[in-house]
Symmetry: C2
Subunit: 99 residues, 2 copies
């Protein structure tokens, strides 16, 4: 399994513009083959700091996602909204354990 | 390295009460030995759905955290705020790769 976790920032004045775009790409992504979890969340200390939480069955599913039309649309749209500080990491792991 | 990722829900009417408590435990936790990352974030589709994003150097650091006074305080406080649907998983992995 693949866990993807990290954060990115947007310009505070563009948060309201970004939110519907983020909801759209997240919804489209959750429908993709091999997508176990895909969500965006706003940090409780800083609403301009977005958390990314993803789980994928395997790398192939994630690679296919990366080439999807909705991701291309999302990458283009966010670039005009002060998107920066993207720190996202991929972890190869097992299903994990509930704690 | 240990990645901890998941979500929990609180009663919508208690979100405002929960936020300062979550900020407090998160701040205390980030100061702990072995804590690489520890954050809470509100899902962009549902503000009552909280995401948990943690990274620890090893299990011992996480176990020590679990026994900390600030976690005991947090667990007690959240129980009165409609805390439910806790779905958090621990993943043993390496440092991951930036993507």
């Amino acid at each position: 399994m693949i866990v993807v976790m990290g954060t990115f920032r947007v310009a505070p004045e563009h948060i309201d513009t970004l939110l519907p775009l983020a909801r759209k790409v997240a919804e489209a992504t959750r429908a993709e083959e091999g997508c176990i979890q895909y969500g965006y969340a706003q940090d409780i200390d800083d609403p301009a700091l977005f958390h990314v939480a993803e789980r994928w069955t395997d790398r192939a599913a994630l690679m296919s996602h990366a080439k999807s039309a909705h991701m291309a649309e999302w990458v283009a749209a966010r670039s005009g909204l002060g998107f920066h500080d993207r720190m996202i990491r991929l972890y190869e792991t097992d299903e994990g354990v509930a704690i």
